[in-house]
């Protein structure tokens, strides 16, 4: 039975005819309580869409089916549009109410989708094998300390398990876990090739990116940050300026939050924040054996961005008074953290459009971040976000993927490259993959596209982005992917080094491709990519071999259920001598 819309008698079109509504969620998870033991909740913005019981909207279908108990927990059938929990402060009531659990996952998932769409300036599709509009979300999917996105079943599954005090722990009540899994689903929709076997950096990227989205989503909630600031707020809600430098905020605030973060709910995965703060900046981590595994390697990227966040937060506090030694109000300090987190989250998402479609490195991501920010915020003089990002990544030994420019952003195509547009029209260049393929066909040599590899255009996405400063940016982002299937014995002839120990009879795929960013006049602004015969292939194959990717029983694609479990247990892949 469809839910009722708000009654017309109480409907004020001026006040209510807006495209969004606010719903209550837990700011982090049930273990983190506010003053006097009250539930720490916050409100997020979701579309004011038509809802069916579930909640079931136009992009998310919450299906509360528990496979372990073979039980379906019914959703609410009345007052579907009302947020019943805004005034609830009793945490037990929220934890024991499955209707709240259903609302919590719906609202966080939709809010995360909304953040992605706003950052990218366009709708974002799911990455399922057959196109579908609904991501299915099971808040009590099974009795297991796990939660994951599955492309095959088009779903997010959240498990529950026994906690240390024998209480049931629900992963669907952890803001960071729900945001993390939604980020996996969204990233898969934007860049499906990122799940293909590749260099260690790419393998690490999915987890690291999902961690970043989770971290910044939670840090966007000023209620939670305020709680972290309590220890350095002696009285009158004022914090001394001496307690608001990078070092103090790191050790007294983020470290404390990190210890709380996912203490039990995330079952070991909440260590992301703690590890990213504890990891001392050093260029040696990238080559360190302990950081060759995807899960641990991703922590380097998370650390670089978390520490950039700290620096930006401090910079934002300076003009408010810390540069003059003035104390600041706790709420203001928390608001600045939320603003910085929100801005970094948006640029982290927007950077996806400036990444190669396959074989990315952390350096590529840095160049993508810098390019994405520069396009929308050409003037960075106030807080120096880009300098901060460069410095923070540099401290971890990550140099921009493009070494040709001092600012680290991507280069436009060289002036001497003549791209032909004959026979093409502007309008289909913004939406039609076949037209884009003809563009590639006509410009194959100019763009350096391999003749032998199978080439296909995988996406054409027009965007309209608007900055806080009022700058409007129209771009069309196009991806093409190339595949070349060869025996390992042929690699030397292609100029690619075969890993020692890999049988020449192994049949393998070399991947390449590029991202073309067109400006609003239909001209190529950036061509960001890697060729199937590029120098990176040698490193990619060696990395895959070292992680056991050519073992017979290794999966073709990562499955997040196994990936998360490995992350908890620190599993190590390695090559095996198989028959």
């Amino acid at each position: 039975m469809p839910g009722k819309r708000p009654r017309r008698s109480t409907f004020d079109p001026v006040a209510h005819d807006v495209p969004t509504r606010s719903w209550t969620i837990l700011a982090q998870d049930p273990s983190i309580l506010g003053p006097r033991g009250r539930a720490l909740t916050t409100r997020v913005t979701v579309p004011a869409e038509r809802l069916e019981p579930g909640p079931w909207g136009h992009r998310i279908h919450v299906i509360d089916f528990d496979a372990t108990r073979n039980t379906y927990y019914k959703p609410r059938h009345d007052d579907l549009y009302d947020d019943r929990y805004e005034a609830v402060t009793d945490i037990d009531r929220l934890v024991h109410d499955p209707y709240f659990h259903q609302q919590n996952v719906y609202a966080i998932t939709m809010a995360t989708l909304g953040t992605f769409q706003a950052a990218l300036g366009r709708p974002v599709s799911w990455g399922f094998t057959s196109p579908a509009h609904h991501l299915k979300v099971a808040p009590h999917a099974f009795a297991d300390a796990n939660a994951y996105y599955s492309r095959d079943s088009e779903s997010l599954s959240f498990g529950y398990f026994s906690g240390q005090r024998r209480q049931t722990v629900f992963t669907c009540l952890s803001h960071d876990i729900v945001a993390h899994e939604t980020a996996h689903a969204l990233l898969d929709g934007l860049r499906s090739s990122f799940l293909w076997p590749s260099h260690a950096d790419q393998a690490a990227f999915h987890e690291a990116f999902a961690d970043l989205v989770a971290l910044f989503s939670v840090l966007k909630s000023s209620e939670w940050v305020e709680l972290g600031l309590a220890d350095i707020t002696p009285r009158n809600n004022l914090i001394r300026s001496g307690d608001l430098d990078v070092d103090s905020l790191k050790h007294n605030v983020l470290f404390k939050l990190g210890k709380q973060f996912g203490r039990e709910q995330s079952f070991g995965r909440g260590d992301a924040l703690r590890h990213s703060i504890e990891l001392e900046p050093s260029p040696r981590w990238l080559a360190h054996p302990a950081f060759q595994e995807p899960h641990t390697r991703g922590e380097i990227l998370v650390a670089a961005l978390t520490q950039a966040f700290l620096a930006v937060w401090c910079k934002r506090l300076r003009p408010l008074g810390t540069d003059r030694g003035l104390p600041l109000n706790r709420a203001v300090v928390a608001d600045e953290a939320a603003t910085a987190a929100g801005q970094l989250l948006r640029v982290a998402i927007r950077a996806l459009d400036y990444l190669p479609p396959i074989d990315l490195t952390f350096g590529d991501y840095l160049s993508a971040l810098l390019t994405a920010d520069m396009q929308l915020y050409p003037d960075d003089s106030r807080y120096g976000y880009r300098d901060t990002l460069r410095a923070s990544f540099q401290a971890f030994g990550i140099a921009p993927g493009n070494a040709n420019r001092q600012d680290g952003a991507w280069d436009p195509p060289p002036r001497e490259v003549e791209l032909g547009y004959q026979g093409l029209h502007f309008e289909p260049l913004q939406r039609d993959p076949d037209t884009l393929f003809r563009f590639l066909w006509e410009n194959r040599d100019a763009l350096g596209i391999d003749r032998d590899a199978f080439t296909r255009v995988t996406s054409v996405r027009p965007c309209l982005r608007v900055s806080n400063d009022g700058i409007v940016l129209r771009e069309t982002v196009v991806e093409y992917v190339q595949t070349l299937r060869v025996f390992a014995g042929e690699l030397e002839a292609l100029g690619i080094r075969k890993p020692d120990g890999l049988s020449g009879q192994t049949f393998l795929s070399l991947y390449g491709g590029g991202t073309l960013v067109f400006d609003e006049f239909g001209r190529v602004k950036f061509h960001i990519g890697t060729g199937v015969r590029s120098a990176r292939q040698s490193a990619r194959l060696q990395s895959l071999y070292d992680r056991g990717a050519f073992n017979r029983d290794a999966g073709e694609r990562a499955h997040f259920a196994g990936l998360h479990r490995q992350r908890m247990l620190g599993g190590v892949g390695h090559p095996e001598e198989q028959w």
Binding site: Y73, P98, A138, Q292, M568
Partner: protein
């Protein structure tokens, strides 16, 4: 030419018993005046089909062992706790094959260090303690997976249900068998480099323990994130213990998750999701149970027996991580090259006979090779893996290599009335 030791055995009989998918070997060292018998494993997770004997098959195997050792065993090796290696030691209230083995009065039981009851509480070695407790928790999980597998309904899930049951059953605690082993005779819990304790029982035979490595030994060559192994094992232990704590409560008599909350049939619009969710749950359980299966295989005792110029290698089900430590030692690699009796690892699976090891065996070759390599394979096709994914057990390319370059004893080729086959080696 190796000098012949005084008091050394003059002949050796190695018997391979047909236990289907499992292992059971009897080494009989014949001295001038006496015989000494060592039983290596006795278990099965799928007894052979089509045999003449159909009832109480395990007891018949135990009786055959009794007959072959003349009513007296000197030592028993239980390479690791898996059902297909130890189920034959279960006493089953006095009616099981373990009762017969117990009556053969072995003087020494050899097990991996991970089975040492003291290891789970050893305050001086927290990493070992954590590892051992982790294994115990894993076995609890295996039991609950078997229960959970039974709740998966539908023809589409039949294959995964059978895999879950098979691997889960292999990994359950096997308490009856282990308790019998622990009380049958003094136990010696061994690791790489430790004394097997067979010197007195087998004079003239040099026995070397090549595996399993200890946590510290394995840690020396493992790329492990945590620089603190205690912390690493603490996390692993907590994970499995909590999983174990979560499962039985739900798999047994499910208590309502939300008492009083309305439940019902999935609406038609979401009905298809039920199968997808069940599939997710099944795949998740399978990945869990595979992890613990591998961990348990890697606790296998690897023994190298050397008598004059005869070298026998019994690696249990050791897989890559277990082998890695022994193979990292050049001196051991040289000794392994001289192996002329090889018990094929892990029933002939794709990764338990490292190719480095196989290539190094100097005695392998065609039928006219002097002192040709003897290989012993105890297996049964159709239990594990799939031909389509090239993971079948036994793996066909390995079988081919064994057939071409060694004299292969394969239990799959035994006649219906053949319980065991013997290989006699003059020492």
């Amino acid at each position: 030419m190796v000098a012949v030791a005084r008091n050394a055995p003059v002949r050796l009989t190695v018997r391979t018993y047909d236990v289907g998918f499992g292992d059971c070997f009897l080494l009989s060292f014949h001295y001038a005046r006496r015989d000494r018998h060592v039983l290596i494993d006795f278990g099965s997770m799928a007894w052979p089909t089509g045999k003449t004997i159909r009832r109480d098959y395990a007891n018949h195997i135990a009786a055959a062992i009794r007959e072959d050792c003349g009513g007296k065993l000197h030592a028993v090796v239980a390479t690791h706790r898996h059902q297909d290696h130890v189920s034959g030691f279960a006493r089953q209230g006095g009616r099981g094959p373990g009762e017969i083995i117990r009556a053969l009065a072995p003087e020494l039981i050899i097990q991996p260090w991970t089975e040492d009851p003291a290891a789970a509480t050893d305050a001086t070695a927290p990493a070992r303690r954590g590892f051992t407790r982790t294994l115990l928790a894993m076995q609890e999980v295996a039991g609950s997976v078997v229960q959970a597998a039974a709740t998966l309904r539908g023809e589409q899930l039949r294959s995964v249900r059978e895999q879950l049951r098979a691997i889960g059953m292999d990994n359950i605690a096997n308490r009856d068998a282990i308790a019998n082993l622990q009380s049958m005779a003094p136990n010696r819990y061994v690791h790489h480099g430790s004394n097997a304790g067979l010197g007195r029982l087998l004079p003239g035979v040099r026995t070397t323990v090549l595996g399993p490595p200890t946590v510290e030994q394995a840690g020396a060559i493992r790329q492990q994130r945590s620089t603190d192994p205690d912390e690493f094992w603490h996390v692993a232990q907590t994970f499995w213990q909590r999983l174990a704590a979560t499962k039985p409560a739900n798999a047994g008599a499910p208590k309502a998750l939300f008492p009083g909350h309305p439940t019902g049939r999935l609406p038609r619009s979401a009905g298809w999701f039920r199968y997808a969710a069940m599939r997710e749950q099944a795949d998740s359980l399978l990945s869990i149970v595979r992890m613990l299966d591998k961990a348990m295989n890697n606790t296998s005792v690897i023994l190298l027996f050397e008598v004059n110029d005869t070298v026998l290698l019994f690696p249990g089900d050791a897989q890559y991580e277990n082998w890695m430590y022994a193979l990292s030692k050049p001196a051991i690699r040289d000794r392994l090259a001289r192996v002329n009796v090889y018990k094929v690892g892990h029933h002939g699976s794709l990764n338990a006979t490292p190719k480095t090891l196989w290539r190094a065996f100097a005695q392998k070759g065609g039928a006219d090779t002097p002192r040709r390599l003897e290989t012993l394979l105890s297996t049964m096709a159709g239990v594990h893996g799939s031909q389509e994914r090239k993971t079948e057990v036994p793996r066909r390319p390995l079988l081919r290599a064994l057939g071409e370059d060694s004299r292969l004893t394969n239990t799959q080729a035994f006649a219906p009335d053949e319980l065991r086959r013997a290989v006699v080696i003059e020492l």
